[in-house]
């Protein structure tokens, strides 16, 4: 039994890694592409090397776009409904605690509530797409380019990934 348990454990680990790669390629086939506006900065992560921190416009939400009455705690899940503007960039439409149904030209993204910033009077949320790993020592190049346009893909199973940064 133990002999089989070992082979099962190793196989599951291998399958997990293969699954990580497969999900990435499958998202291209089944996912929906949207564009978001950002501003990057360039720190260092001890486990990953160089990456950009991407600050999305849709992660800063005004009071008028905020439809939640309840006071949230840091890390609470929320759903952002985004809709396409005239430049094909997605902007915030509404925010809910319960997942709304998808409508045409709209996408719903799961995000994490962070805090309310009294300085800019906006709610800060996190999409979980704040990091984009880049080749070492190329961070400044992106940083100097100012605002960036990020194309992300959202898979039907909820996973999302960054496709391009321009």
């Amino acid at each position: 039994m133990k002999k089989y348990a070992f082979y099962i454990t190793v196989s599951l680990q291998a399958l997990f890694l293969i699954g990580m790669a497969s999900a990435f390629y499958l998202m291209d086939a089944f996912g929906e592409e949207i564009k978001l506006q950002t501003i990057p900065i360039d720190p260092q992560d001890p486990f990953y090397g160089d990456y950009l921190i991407l600050d999305y416009e849709v992660e800063r939400i005004t009071r008028s776009e905020w439809d939640i009455d309840e006071e949230l705690s840091y890390g609470d899940p929320i759903y952002l409904t985004l809709e396409k503007d005239a430049n094909d960039i997605y902007q915030i439409k509404e925010v809910n605690q319960i997942k709304p149904k998808n409508k045409k030209n709209e996408v719903v993204l799961l995000a994490k509530y962070e805090w309310f910033d009294t300085f800019d009077n906006k709610y800060h949320v996190d999409l979980g797409l704040g990091r984009y790993y880049i080749e070492d020592n190329t961070g400044e190049m992106y940083e100097e380019s100012g605002e960036l346009l990020v194309t992300i893909v959202i898979a039907p199973w909820g996973q999302k990934k960054i496709v391009t940064i321009e």
Partner: protein, 397 residues
């Protein structure tokens, strides 16, 4: 006692004709030379594992993604297979080292693929997956090194989660308790209890730092560990859990003594009311088991800041009472470890009290001068008492 020590001792016995030559050899041969060659293999596996992690940290964008994936899979499966073969048929230590390298490659693989494929997480998910893999191997081989690996990955994962996501990863904590506590309870290994206690403590500290709770929730965390030790009621668990909880309580009370005077703390009474039942349970257990000598230790779990203006003096008093009770307990049960712990904590308490009370009033040179003499005298008396006990122990034997 190791072979060299017993050899030295037995040579004396032989000279004094207490034992015969034959008995000398029999005694010495009972203490086999420890084979430490596995340390080399352990360090070798550690270095190779670290090599993979740095390989992850550097960039691999020049190599196609699928080639990277293939390299990781081949190395991981290769190390696991050879490790398993060695573990079962050749050498446990070499096999274990290779299995650990396999685990390192798996962990590095999660991070590397995450980087290559731009994965983002809301929590330290890679650490959860990695710890599950390590734990699965531990369940198969039941080797303590794999338990150490699992707990280390979980603890680092929780710290990483706190630092990077400013939140507490409940799923990782639940996995930690559900998976590890089972083996802490059932396997007769003191190391498991101690590791569990320390990891719980570190995770508890992360929880308090990232949450909005009053800092007194630390006491609830320490108390829970203390009570868990008492309820599980196996010597190896109780002693290690309570040792970690009490040590944490002692350090916490030291900080309170030093900083309470300067800090302006807004106290939320809800924490106090939540604390009452926990404290009563801890006291109740000690009383029902007639462990009266352990009762003073519980002073370390009292949220002294609620006492107001004189709370720093009260925490100082608590430090003295607790360290003296440990010292007395040590002498009563004639346990050198408890005496050493009592002596060290008593010296620390004295130093903190002296620093706290005299720093503002005395000239600085006199302050250090008197402080030095005071500590010297205390150290002298405690050491003399300790030596007396050690001699009487040797004489009894």
């Amino acid at each position: 006692m190791n072979r060299q020590e017993i050899m030295k001792e037995a040579t004396e016995w032989l000279k004094e004709e207490i034992i015969t030559e034959d008995q000398f050899h029999k005694i010495v041969n009972r203490y086999e030379l420890k084979d430490r060659s596995y340390l080399l293999f352990l360090f070798a596996s550690l270095f190779i594992g670290l090599g993979f992690l740095t390989y992850v940290a550097s960039n691999l964008h020049v190599i196609p993604h699928l080639v990277n994936l293939t390299i990781i899979l081949l190395f991981m499966i290769g190390y696991y297979m050879i490790g398993n073969y060695f573990y079962r048929y050749k050498s446990t230590k070499v096999g274990l080292s290779l299995l650990i390298i396999g685990l390192f490659i798996f962990g590095a693989g999660i991070f590397l693929l995450g980087q290559m494929y731009h994965y983002s997480y809301l929590h330290a998910v890679p650490f959860l997956i990695w710890s599950i893999a390590a734990f699965s191997l531990f369940v198969i081989y039941k080797h303590p090194a794999l338990f150490v690996f699992t707990v280390t990955v979980i603890t680092i994962g929780q710290i990483y989660n706190g630092m990077n996501y400013q939140s507490f990863y409940w799923l990782l904590a639940i996995f930690f308790v559900a998976a590890c506590l089972h083996y802490v309870y059932h396997e007769p290994n003191r190391l498991y209890s101690l590791l569990f206690g320390w990891s719980y403590l570190v995770q508890g500290i992360v929880f308090v730092i990232v949450s909005d709770h009053d800092y007194h929730i630390y006491l609830h965390i320490f108390l829970l560990l203390f009570i868990a030790g008492a309820i599980l009621n196996k010597d190896r668990i109780k002693e290690e859990f309570q040792y970690v909880a009490l040590l944490a309580g002692f350090v916490f009370t030291c900080f309170e003594t030093i900083f309470l005077r300067y800090a302006r703390i807004e106290l939320d009474w809800i924490y106090f009311f939540l604390w009452i039942p926990l404290f009563l349970i801890a006291v109740g257990i000690q009383i029902t088991r007639r462990h009266y000598m352990y009762l003073p230790s519980l002073l370390l779990f009292i949220p002294i800041a609620y006492a107001g203006e004189y709370s720093d003096y009260l925490s100082m008093l608590a430090l003295f009472i607790v360290s003296l009770s440990w010292l007395m307990l040590g002498y009563r049960v004639e346990d050198m470890k408890k005496i050493t712990l009592g002596s060290v904590t008593f010296l620390i308490s004295t130093f903190i009290a002296y620093f706290h009370l005299a720093w503002a009033f005395l000239d600085k040179s006199i302050f250090f001068f008197i402080g030095g003499i005071l500590l010297f005298l205390l150290g002298y008396f405690l050491e003399r008492k300790r030596r007396e006990l050690k001699h009487s122990e040797v004489a009894d034997k």
